[in-house]
Symmetry: C2
Subunit: 212 residues, 2 copies
DNA sequence: GGAATAATTGATCACCTGATCAATAACCGT
DNA sequence: ACGGTTATTGATCAGGTGATCAATTATTCC
């Protein structure tokens, strides 16, 4: 019983570090990036603020890495969801539906916080750039694959990826601020995608109420 | 010399109130909404923080009204710029060029701050809603006028206005975070607008390098 | 079992935030 | 010229922020 975690207050560094990172993620997701404070993390984990400081070089980096982790996880989830799609058309369809779905609001809120905070927060600004590039690279890959398969016809998949992401972010931002969800406006993204990728109108349309 | 302002420290309430409001606007524009603090305003005006508190019921409301003033002024400026346009097509063209121009970054930054802060800031959230509606109403009017003139064909101008604003906001957000300007991506907005308004491709295109 | 190692704590620092209060000073009307 | 009105100040409060320090434990190694 030497490693029984229930009786001992002291934990292995790796475990505690994971605990802190997890708490940070939770706080960021349900209270926003600005609420990600030294004492908030400590309180959620159930330790002293000094301990969080001991595990983290600074709050600046914790905020940045927490944001990065959340967004990276989001990309991973979407990638996993797209994997079983047999055609690039269904993949793009799924991607649009997921990214504009009602479950996206929490992550979108984190993005908004990051955009705002990033202007006075060097480390976060860098991470925002990295994650935006990651998203672009991911979507760009989907488009390129579609072109290779002969499903899409795009001169500049990189540019189209940026455009689609910008539209999706804009719609989601509006949705989170003004309405509850952005699903109503999916049609816009579909139309743009069809136009930019040389698809016939309606090619991305049918599968509207397909998910859950 | 009884009303000489240079010798007297004391000022008329209306004048001081205007001074405070102006300082608040300046701070918000070049340091961001989160930098709009009691002492920052006081310092810029050259008075005590207590005086700012005396003129403002709370920082919460000052932030909200400052944001509202900035955005309302933006709408006013654009409206003024669109007034001389003889056709709705050139009006829409001008609007797109202006809204995605390089001078928009400061106001876009304020929007980002407001979207982020608005989630923990009741008064600001209300003002954000009001100003978004104002923008939508303004653009919607432009589109409706174009329809009445027979230049546009849109089934639902309100919806198209929301869509165009969402795209513009998304592009501007991306531009401010990742690149210096969103001008490169104007083509996207034009394409969408042309498609949604029943215009021939390229109808909004030509006047690309028209402004300084 | 005893000693070295390191996770954890509690206290504290310096700084920022918004807000309130009595006291002071300037202005205006008479 | 004087008195009332009020703009303005200085001080101060309560609370929050990130960060650092020695001291205290718990764990592990020998």
């Amino acid at each position: 019983m030497s490693t029984d975690p229930s009786a001992s207050r002291r934990k292995a560094p790796i475990e505690r570090a994971a605990e802190i990172a997890r708490a940070a993620r939770e706080i960021a997701l349900d209270e926003g990036l600005p609420a990600l404070t030294l004492r908030a993390v400590a309180s959620r984990v159930g330790v002293t603020s000094a301990l969080v400081s001991h595990y983290q070089p600074s709050m600046e980096t914790l905020v940045a890495t927490t944001f990065g982790t959340i967004v990276a996880a989001e990309i991973g989830e979407v990638a996993e969801e797209l994997a079983p799609c047999e055609t690039s058309v269904t993949a793009l369809q799924t991607l649009i539906n997921t990214l504009l779905g009602p479950d996206r609001s929490t992550v979108t809120a984190v993005w908004l916080d990051a955009w705002s905070l990033g202007r006075r927060h060097a480390a976060l600004a860098v991470e925002v750039g990295v994650q935006m590039d990651a998203w672009q690279a991911f979507l760009s890959d989907v488009l390129r694959t579609g072109c290779a398969r002969g499903e899409f016809r795009a001169i500049d998949p990189d540019a189209v990826a940026w455009q689609l992401l910008a539209i999706i972010d804009g719609l989601n931002a509006h949705a989170i601020v003004r309405y509850g969800h952005a699903q109503r406006l999916r049609g816009l993204v579909r139309t743009v995608a069809e136009h930019e990728l040389g698809l016939p109108p309606g090619a991305l349309g049918p599968d509207d109420d397909a998910e859950h």
